[in-house]
């Protein structure tokens, strides 16, 4: 349904060009939940924003974003507007700053409904209340006239989800929808998104840096590093048999099922900066399995095994044991 091909987004001018995402390609099938994981700054949010064309204002976007076989990247603003918010909706990462502090929550839901449905004013109001109910905001009817600052972070995140769901999108771009939440509430929200995806056959791209969240919700996972996809595959494959050294390192540094107070596995070094990224594989400087080729050439995402794709010249298997 969504087919992203060779998407690259860069910021700044020729002299100081920052390539935030570099040649990213993936697809999302109807009803599928795709997890996008990777550490901070790896370009997860920019990927989502670039799909919707939001980065065009301040960056250069290349490549194709095919939505139902139409390239959104070359669409006019007017056409884009018809897709945004109605067919593809997005939840932003920061619930604190993503709602307009000066407008009531009711109005912010309403303007979405107004833009994409033909409902009457009162019907819209009814629908708004329904939506708030759906995301578990108590006494929703009374809270329509409240302002964002009167909600807690978690509730704001839910309001955002309500807005995103307002016009029953076919694809939901969820940028870390639960970072601001406590684990107990996180669970409620994830359940909600899973439910909707199942019941309404809604596709989801779920950005997260918490592998646990990805494990529990996603069908497939795409791992990002330094603006590139390094590994894509079904959730179990990626979590059980990761092949890219970065994915492996990421998984191993999670302190689960290790002896308490033992030394954790940690990737050496630090993530690359956008300003001077290595010529070859971005991960090469930190990679325990790097080869000379890795420093000079850039690996492409390639089919590896039954259902995974890996961008690595020297893919590993944990069982082979040569990385620890």
């Amino acid at each position: 349904m969504l087919d992203v091909r060779n998407l690259s987004t860069s910021f700044g001018h020729d002299t100081e060009k920052l390539l935030a995402i570099d040649d990213v390609s993936f697809t999302v099938a109807p009803g599928e939940i795709l997890g996008l994981v990777g550490e901070s700054g790896s370009g997860k949010s920019i990927t989502l924003r670039s799909i919707l064309g939001l980065t065009k204002r301040y960056g250069q976007v290349e490549g194709k974003v095919l939505w139902k076989n139409q390239n959104m990247n070359i669409m006019k603003n007017k056409e884009l507007r018809r897709i945004r918010g109605s067919e593809i909706a997005m939840i932003f990462q920061e619930p604190m700053s993503s709602l307009n502090p000066l407008l009531t929550v009711g109005l912010q839901i309403d303007e979405n409904l107004k833009a994409h449905t033909k409902l009457s004013r009162s019907a819209r109001k009814k629908r708004s209340i329904e939506l708030l109910d759906l995301v578990g905001i108590p006494s929703a009817a009374d809270r329509l006239d409240d302002y964002p600052h009167q909600f807690s972070g978690g509730m704001r995140q839910r309001v955002m989800i309500a807005i995103a769901l307002a016009s029953e999108p076919e694809l939901l771009l969820a940028d870390e929808p639960t970072t601001a939440l406590d684990v107990t509430i996180q669970q409620q929200i994830l359940d909600l998104i899973l439910d909707l995806s199942k019941n309404m056959n809604m596709s989801v791209i779920m950005v997260t840096h918490d592998l646990g969240v990805a494990a529990q919700t996603c069908d497939r996972i795409a791992v990002m590093y330094g603006g590139k996809l390094v590994e894509v595959g079904p959730v179990r494959e990626i979590l059980r048999n990761p092949q890219h050294p970065y994915s492996i390192g990421l998984l191993r540094s999670v302190p689960e099922d290790v002896a308490p107070r033992s030394e954790l596995y940690s990737l050496p070094g630090i993530p690359p900066s956008l300003a001077d990224r290595p010529k070859g594989c971005c991960f090469a400087p930190r990679c325990p399995a790097a080869m000379t080729k890795c420093v000079t050439d850039r690996p492409e995402l390639q089919q590896a095994g039954n259902s995974c794709s890996v961008a690595c010249f020297n893919p590993q298997t944990i069982t082979s044991g040569n990385i620890a």
Binding site: S40, G41, I270, S273, L274, A275, D276
Partner: protein, 285 residues
């Protein structure tokens, strides 16, 4: 986004510094440097004695001899405008520096300790900003008598409040950063935390404000000069010069035009530099 590229090369830091400067900033710096030269060495630059009468050249229009013409006493306008640079640049500095020092100190202390001092401070600030600036300055000048020194005092009496307010807000904002708490936890003294840790980080907007305030001081000083409350004749000061030329604005237009242009250009320089400094000091990444 919290992610900041940290491993930036510092090799070309100086070069980058200049590269980052906007053209406006460079223009501003040039204007100010030239102004400063004129202000510091008027005696070498001015072609004539600014106060010498020349009855043979009364109100003569700009010419080869007198580029900016002469006034009704035959004084050379160019020389007077140049000499005024020392007065007006001095004004920009002296009228603001004490406000800056007092305001920064008080603002920093109040912002750090808050509590009752903050309540008292708040009321004082409220009371002072309730007066239009000029009204209060004029009133104070009237109390002390006209003249440059008294003008500086008057502007300081009123002006420190603006610095203090800014400083207080900045210090309070900086206090929200953990390094202030860290300083306390490290067992550092209050004065060390305030003046070594918080102040250097909080001072930037104050410096930026200072730049614009210096431009304002020139405007204010010349306004007071114009009203007869600032610099005293025969001292050449732009406001005074304009006031002197006021009556001849249609006949001997150069008398008021030339100092006017000098004010505008210098003020322009200060504003550009102020903007440029703000731009440079703005945190990036």
């Amino acid at each position: 986004m919290t992610y900041a590229p940290y491993a930036q090369k510092r090799r070309f830091a100086v070069f980058k510094f200049f590269q980052r400067m906007q053209p406006g900033f460079i223009v501003g710096l040039t204007i100010l440097s030239l102004s400063l030269i004129l202000a510091l060495f008027p005696s070498y630059i001015a072609p004539y004695d600014p106060n010498a009468f020349d009855f043979n050249a009364v109100q003569s229009p700009p010419s080869d001899l007198h580029w900016f013409g002469t006034d009704s006493l035959g004084r050379d306008t160019l020389s007077r405008v140049i000499w005024a640079y020392s007065v007006n640049m001095q004004m920009a500095f002296l009228a603001t520096i004490f406000s800056l020092l007092i305001g920064v100190t008080i603002g920093a202390l109040v912002g750090y300790y808050r509590g009752f001092s903050d309540v008292v401070f708040g009321r004082c600030v409220d009371a002072i900003i309730t007066f239009p600036f000029l009204v209060l300055v004029i009133a104070v000048v009237a109390v002390l008598g006209p003249g440059l020194i008294n003008m500086y005092i008057a502007i300081t009496v009123v002006g420190w409040v603006y610095y203090a307010r800014l400083m207080r807000a900045e210090i309070m904002a900086q206090m929200a950063n953990d390094y202030a708490s860290a300083g306390k936890v490290m067992g550092y003294s209050d004065s060390r935390i305030i003046f070594r840790h918080l102040l250097p980080n909080a001072i930037t907007p104050v410096i930026v404000y200072w730049m614009t305030d210096m431009a304002l001081a020139i405007l204010l000083g010349s306004s007071l000069g114009y009203l007869g409350l600032g610099a005293q004749p025969p001292e050449a000061e732009w406001g005074v010069l304009i006031a002197e030329g006021r009556n001849f604005i249609t006949t001997a237009w150069w008398l008021s035009l030339m100092p006017g242009i000098a004010i505008v250009i210098t003020g322009f320089g200060f504003s550009l530099v102020g903007d440029g400094v703000a731009d440079l000091l703005r945190p990036r990444g």
